[in-house]
């Protein structure tokens, strides 16, 4: 048990916590526009934290192959950071074109 292992454990638990927040948010939010907020963002940060943890764990036995593997893992993170806003935007666009109204507080009071 050295300091790198502890760092990996902290990163993985952080990622798991973000994923938990995303899942709870998807269940609890009132309409689908607000559901997109936890779904798109918390999952992105969860992937970022967990894959960073894996990359650090992978660099434990340092060699050129493990370095390449870690670079590949960061390629996944890079791609997710590019694609997740695009996917979110595309879902919102589909909802807007279909004419779904968004949930507001006033409607609930009235």
């Amino acid at each position: 048990m050295d300091i790198l292992d502890i760092l990996v454990i902290i990163l993985l638990l952080t990622g798991l916590f973000f994923f938990l927040g995303g899942a709870v948010g998807i269940i609890r939010m009132p309409d689908f526009y607000s559901r997109l907020h936890p779904a798109g963002k918390l999952d992105t940060l969860g992937i970022f934290a967990m894959v960073t943890g894996f990359a650090v764990y992978n660099l434990h036995h340092f060699s050129i192959e493990s370095l390449l593997l870690s670079i590949k893992m960061f390629l996944i993170v890079f791609f997710v950071f590019l694609s997740s806003p695009t996917a979110t935007h595309s879902i919102v666009d589909a909802g807007m074109r279909a004419g779904l109204r968004h949930w507001t507080k006033k409607k609930r009071k009235g």
Binding site: A39, E65, S83
Partner: protein, 95 residues
């Protein structure tokens, strides 16, 4: 460390159940799409974990990368397909 990875993988599977609820019972088609997308982003991490458990990360990292691409394209294609579908808001607005 392997035990820890295994428990993290089980935790991820448990979290997928939440999203499966949304994918099965979501009031609109787009809610289901959100659920499927959330499951996909957890699957990418799960594939890496499986790679560590089987000690074949070099293979599973490629699978995870391909899965991330595929997930993105699936969401894009599905949401393009549901443009201007009038059936979208008939099953919506449960309040």
């Amino acid at each position: 460390m392997i035990t820890f990875f295994l428990s993290v993988a089980l935790g991820l599977l448990f979290l997928m159940l939440f999203s499966i609820y949304r994918a099965l019972f979501g009031p609109t088609v787009l809610d289901r799409l959100i659920g499927v997308n959330a499951i996909g982003s957890k699957t990418v991490v799960l594939l890496l974990l499986i790679g560590f458990l089987y000690e074949r990360v070099d293979m599973f990292v490629d699978i995870a990368l391909a899965y991330a691409f595929l997930n993105f394209i699936a969401v894009l294609a599905a949401s393009r397909y549901f443009h201007k579908r009038k059936g979208l808001y008939e099953e919506s607005f449960m309040d």
